[in-house]
């Protein structure tokens, strides 16, 4: 697995734990949502940095109170056609004000890269054979967006009227 962030491949400091992998004090660890809910107090008390992995169907709202303690939230795409994580990412960014890393895991492909970025996902766990250059190309594919999302891009409807105003 490789991790892409800010258009570059970066090294991944995080360990992804399953339901019963022991959490070590000095290893930043991403735990599944259900485990986080069950062991919340002890996990947050531990010395380790904690992240949570959301799978489709998990209740993103249940994390709302703990977001300032979570450095990473992984949103999983078991298949790229399961689009629930787009809503989770938008809720995390726009409703709950989450500022940490939102990381796409699972079936993460370049053809959905722009959608993910716009939804508020900023890190991408991809297979090693992925060509990072082709991901960068994907960013160039569109120069405008019709709607406001979680990113900073100005939607077309705003650009239209600033253009007109500037021209006048």
């Amino acid at each position: 697995m490789a991790l892409i962030k800010d258009g570059k491949q970066v090294s991944d400091q995080w360990l992804t734990a399953d339901a019963d992998t022991p959490v070590q004090p000095d290893i930043p660890t991403i735990v599944p949502f259900a485990r986080f809910i069950a062991e919340r107090d002890s996990l947050l008390r531990s010395q380790a940095e904690i992240g949570v992995k959301l799978s489709p169907g998990d209740d993103v709202a249940a994390l709302a109170g703990d977001l300032d303690r979570l450095k990473v939230i992984a949103v999983d795409f078991p298949a790229f056609t399961d689009g629930r994580a787009y809503s989770y990412a938008r809720l995390l960014r726009q409703r709950y004000g989450y500022r940490g890393e939102i990381r796409a895991t699972g079936n993460v492909l370049r053809d959905q890269y722009l959608f993910m970025l716009r939804a508020g996902i900023d890190a991408f766990e991809v297979t090693d054979k992925t060509q990072i250059s082709s991901w960068i190309d994907a960013l160039e594919e569109f120069s405008h967006y019709y709607q406001k999302a979680s990113d900073a891009a100005q939607p077309v409807w705003a650009k239209r009227h600033t253009t007109v105003a500037a021209a006048e």
Binding site: R84, F115, A119, W157, R160
Partner: protein
């Protein structure tokens, strides 16, 4: 009608380039078919029985002569000289090559057209009243809102991988010509007591395996909050819609399983929260900019009748009959709405040759205000604004192109999906059934005597041929390798929308034609008077008299 500005034009062009790249990566083996298929579907490209099929959007059914000529050109150069208008106000080309598709899309972009989101599990082309801007009973022109929805839903970053496809329909008239109650979301524009415009929002209608009529979740959403309300519905659906079973993934199943009250409160809560956090709704300036494209054209001030038109109607029975069925009153004095039937007797419903497309374009240029053309979900075309004085000339030209069949709304105006002749999912053929019924009722006098009658045929349970909402519905099934047809009665897609009920055991490929005729003959024998429509007789007497005639006394 709407015209692209630099932003729209750039986006459509960029989508073509993106797709060109995706096709190249597919052909080079960098994408598997599993990865590529959702991408090509999101651009309207299917693989059917004989070849690829490209579904081109006619956004909310509105286009013009220039665009029609481009469709004719595509039919000639890239296909086999014809196209097929569908029940979703789109056009399909049946013999498309994958490696030529990017070039076709570039040609479409030249005339502000595209195939974006005409398939896939995303928000599809919005259906709208084909008489918009012309109908007498219109409260608000739905086209501006359909265009606003088109822009909002195009390449939506959150809603491009929904549990299943999502279809929105909008009407602004009292008579529903957009079948809004059988869409995932149906919108009806209306005025509140303060005279403000807003929308009644209906959710969870649909056809397919589990047909349902949409239910109202809000009586009035102020128009300037329509997009945020839609975004709230879509988010609830995206998060909660079932993904474990393709046949239970539409929003209608969610509404059914969770209950309309629960959906309403989820949507309302989402809507309320959303309004604080982001700007989904358009600023007034942008709304007005889009609406300005749909303001009424410069109609001439004309008398409410025209001598040449009246004289022709008096002298020419065929013309008079065509006017009676295919010409509708217009809100502007001295103008009319002209329906162009794509249902010649024995023909393929919705099919039109490249030459006929050019003819329609020429007629639109010569006689239709703004060269405007509309596509209807009944697979016909409309010239929305024609002067009464031009009707004889329009008729003559249509007739010369075999486009003047005077059967709109009658027994010959049959909706039929492509069925097993083209479609990979089909169980049985639809088109030849339509052809033979149309031939059986070829006599237009007989059709007039029968009166309004909607016959709708699907080749499988996906119901693209709207059989559930046909007065007479026919569904093709596969029975031990044989084509077999179920008959339903009493469906309707208008403001009194209802799902038809199956009469009983199905019929063979030949038997179904006789069965339809039996139903019609039964109606003629028992109707209270010649003014009582088929659907009203059925409402009054129920299915029993029909079943008795179809299956014998015992079955009823």
């Amino acid at each position: 009608m709407y015209r692209y500005d630099e932003f729209d034009a750039t986006l459509v062009r960029e989508r073509v380039s993106q797709f060109r790249g995706q096709v190249a990566r597919r052909v080079a083996g960098e994408l598997t078919e599993d990865e590529f298929k959702p991408l090509r579907l999101m651009n309207g490209l299917y693989l059917q029985i004989h070849a690829y099929m490209l579904r081109v959007a006619i956004p909310y059914g509105t286009f013009d002569a220039r665009q029609m000529r481009k469709l004719a050109h595509i039919a000639r150069v890239y296909d086999k000289g014809y196209g097929h208008f569908t029940t979703r106000q789109n056009i399909q080309f049946n013999w498309i090559k994958l490696d030529e598709t990017p070039d076709i899309l570039d040609e479409l972009a030249d005339v502000e057209m595209h195939a974006i989101q005409t398939s896939g599990n995303c928000i599809r082309n919005t259906t709208a009243d084909p008489y918009a801007g012309a109908a007498v009973d219109e409260v608000e022109d739905p086209r501006a809102w359909a265009e606003i929805i088109r822009q909002w839903s195009s390449f939506h970053p959150e809603f491009s991988f929904l549990p299943r496809k999502f279809k929105i329909a909008v009407t602004g008239a009292t008579h529903d010509r957009a079948a809004v109650r059988v869409h995932d979301i149906g919108l009806i524009a209306k005025k509140n007591e303060a005279g403000e415009i807003g929308f009644e929002v209906m959710v969870g209608g649909g056809q397919g395996r589990t047909p349902m009529i949409a239910k109202t979740i809000r009586d009035f959403v102020p128009r300037d909050h329509l997009l945020s309300y839609l975004e709230a519905v879509l988010r609830v659906y995206n998060m909660l819609g079932r993904r474990d079973n393709k046949y239970k993934a539409r929003i209608k199943i969610l509404v059914h399983e969770v209950g309309v009250e629960e959906i309403r409160s989820l949507v309302e809560a989402e809507w309320e929260a959303m309004q604080k956090e982001t700007s989904v709704d358009l600023p007034t300036a942008e709304r007005d900019r889009i609406a300005s494209y749909f303001s009424a054209p410069a109609f001439e001030v004309l008398a409410d009748t025209d001598r040449g038109f009246e004289a022709r109607r008096f002298e020419d029975r065929d013309f008079a009959a065509w006017v009676r069925s295919n010409v509708k009153p217009h809100r502007q004095t001295g103008y009319a709405i002209v329906d162009i039937s794509l249902k010649p007797t024995g023909g393929i419903p919705g099919d039109i040759t490249a030459d006929q497309m050019d003819t329609v374009a020429d007629i639109a240029d010569a006689f239709a205000v703004g060269s405007e053309i509309r596509a209807t979900y009944q697979q016909n075309l409309v010239l929305p604004h024609v002067k009464l004085s031009d009707l004889p000339a329009v008729y003559d030209r249509l007739k010369a192109a075999e486009l003047a069949t005077g059967n709109i709304g009658l027994a010959g105006d049959i909706i039929a999906c492509p069925g097993l002749d083209y479609c990979n999912l089909a169980n049985a053929r639809s088109i030849p059934i339509a052809q033979r019924i149309s031939e059986r009722f070829a006599d237009l006098n007989r059709q007039f005597d029968i009166g309004p009658l909607e016959i709708k045929i699907s080749g499988c349970i996906n119901a693209c041929g709207h059989h559930h909402v046909g007065h007479i519905g026919i569904l093709g099934v596969d029975r031990k390798g044989e084509e077999h047809y179920q008959l339903t009665l009493g469906g309707r897609a208008d403001e009194a929308a209802a799902i038809g009920r199956i009469t009983g055991p199905g019929f063979s490929y030949d038997g179904i034609i006789d069965a339809v005729e039996t139903v019609v003959e039964t109606y003629l024998a028992i109707r209270a008077n010649p003014e009582e429509r088929f659907i009203d007789t059925l409402d009054r007497v129920g299915q029993d008299p029909f079943k008795e005639r179809l299956y014998g006394a015992k079955a009823a």
